[in-house]
């Protein structure tokens, strides 16, 4: 039976892990993802799940254990954040290169220096080219839903690519929320049985994995790897629809909020969408044609779909919770602007960086952005395409 409960993001992920009962969980504690690992450890200690729980001595080893375990031929998961993800960096590429369908919960947290434990997206943005699929969640409900879907996506025979499901540190990981937990059996059924591909433990069919390639094979192996993430959009869509059918909450690549006749819009990811929606409602009540797009899947980037939606607007503000030092704007902005390049009709587009190191973003900041967008829409002029929100300047 599904039930309405009050949980924070980390507890919601732990619940999903309990329901899925993966074969191996290997994770290292780091704020703010620690309570996921602790809760899973308790589940194992209490016999609620029979996963093999490994506590490696670092995140690098945690991902290495995940890689060994996934290659061995079973379902594997982990959780980390920030520096932990950064320490895994080398192994993220290897997990993707070996096409191992590991699912990781990443609690977004700023990267050092200076050290900071609060939420921003610099950790997962740093991993955006690691070959992993990246799904961002607005709240605990979405984190839970996305995490369950992630196994289906990662393990699909056409995909076989690791997935990270992310949500904002503290704002989501530690804030209680009323949400729905689905029935244990229904979740198990949705996720399904794991079917391994080239498992190491099938010792009757010995294989060599992770060879050295010279110039004659590396390129082919890399393109062979990319096929997985290129096949992912179809599967992400199917799984999101099926999830909707089973549990009533359907998912796509992004959520359009009051976009029908919108002339200007904000594009962003994760928890800030909640506050932004309130602002949209206020402005709509005043008769302003404003909307919001909340991107869910950053990798693979749904460039065409997103551009089609954006191209009919007059002005768009892309809000990034990370920087890309030295680039023409922050990551989501650069991707979005590039996606629009082929469209003859395209909106004016600006970029704001917000919320670094957990800095608040309030309705006032969204009002500020929409005012700016309206001005751009009416004048057709952009005086400054890049700026910061809620920064002492």
């Amino acid at each position: 039976m599904s039930k309405i409960v009050t949980l924070n993001g980390n507890m919601a992920i732990a619940e999903a892990i309990r329901q899925i009962n993966p074969d191996v969980v290997a994770a290292y504690p780091i704020t703010p993802s620690t309570s996921i690992v602790e809760t899973v450890a308790q589940y194992v200690a209490d016999g609620l799940i029979d996963s093999e729980f490994v506590c490696p001595e670092s995140e690098h080893s945690a991902m290495s254990v995940c890689i060994g375990a996934a290659a061995a031929g079973g379902r594997v998961t982990t959780a980390t954040a920030s520096q932990g993800l950064a320490l895994m960096w080398e192994m993220l590429y290897i997990a993707a290169g070996l096409r191992l369908p590991i699912v990781a919960a990443i609690v977004n947290r700023a990267l050092s220096a200076p050290i900071n434990i609060h939420g921003d997206h610099s950790d997962t943005m740093g991993a955006r080219d690691s070959g992993w699929i990246q799904i961002y969640s607005e709240n605990a409900q979405e984190a839970y839903d996305n995490f369950i879907q992630a196994f289906r996506i990662a393990e699909h025979p056409d995909v076989r690519t690791p997935v990270m499901v992310t949500f904002d540190g503290f704002i989501i990981s530690h804030s209680l929320e009323t949400m729905k937990i689905e029935d244990d059996e229904a979740v198990k059924k949705f996720v399904g049985e794991y079917s391994p591909v080239y498992p190491l433990l099938d010792t009757d069919n010995p294989i060599t994995v992770g060879p050295i390639d010279f110039t004659d094979f590396y390129f082919e192996h890399k393109v062979n790897q990319l096929e997985g993430i290129e096949n992912a959009p179809k599967v992400i869509e199917e799984v999101g629809k099926e999830f909707g059918k089973r549990f009533g909450r359907e998912y796509g690549f992004f959520e359009e909020y009051r976009m029908d006749d919108a002339e200007v819009a904000i594009l962003l990811m994760s928890s800030a969408a909640g506050t932004a929606k309130e602002t949209v409602d206020e402005l709509r009540a005043q008769g302003k044609k404003v909307g919001l797009i909340k991107l869910r899947v950053f990798r693979p980037f749904p460039a065409r779909k997103l551009a089609e939606t954006l191209s009919r607007l007059k002005a768009v503000a892309v809000l990034d919770r990370a920087t890309s030092p030295g680039a023409e704007g922050a990551p989501l902005f650069v991707e979005t602007r590039s996606a629009l390049f082929d469209y003859p009709e395209r909106p004016k587009i600006i970029n704001y960086v917000y919320g670094l190191g957990g800095r608040d973003i309030t309705p006032e900041h969204f009002h500020q952005v929409y005012r700016k967008l309206e001005k751009i829409a009416s004048t057709g002029k952009v005086d400054q395409y890049y700026g910061y929100l809620n920064l002492r300047e």
Binding site: Y198, I207, T208, V209, P211
Partner: protein, 108 residues
């Protein structure tokens, strides 16, 4: 898409035909890689008359190039022997039952 399985298929595989995840499904296929071509100038000659079949040459050969059957040395597998000379050094008989001799190198 049919995936490459054997060494020959793997050698010519396009990116689509390669097994996923860098897997090589054809174990021990380096047996078709004849490292004997590495020998430069010397090769071991086996002399069965003095051999006491202690198999020291077998255990110490880095290239698994000493042919042994039923506990007896039959000779050297020149397909793989790289010509290091360990077998000669480790052979305990006097005179040696393996002797390194000059080898004409023919460049092909």
């Amino acid at each position: 898409m049919k995936k490459a399985k054997t060494l020959e298929e793997l050698k010519n595989a396009t990116w689509k035909e390669l097994p996923i995840g860098t897997v090589n499904p054809d174990p021990a296929n380096s047996l078709k890689n004849f490292t004997g071509t590495w020998r430069s100038g010397k090769k071991p000659i086996f002399k069965k008359d003095t051999c006491i079949h202690c198999l020291f040459c077998w255990v110490y050969c880095p290239d698994m190039a000493i042919i042994v059957k039923d506990g007896k040395v039959l000779g050297i597998n020149y397909d793989y022997c790289k010509g290091c000379g360990i077998c000669e050094v480790e052979c305990p008989t006097k005179p040696k039952s393996i002797e390194m001799v000059k080898e004409e190198v023919t460049l092909s």
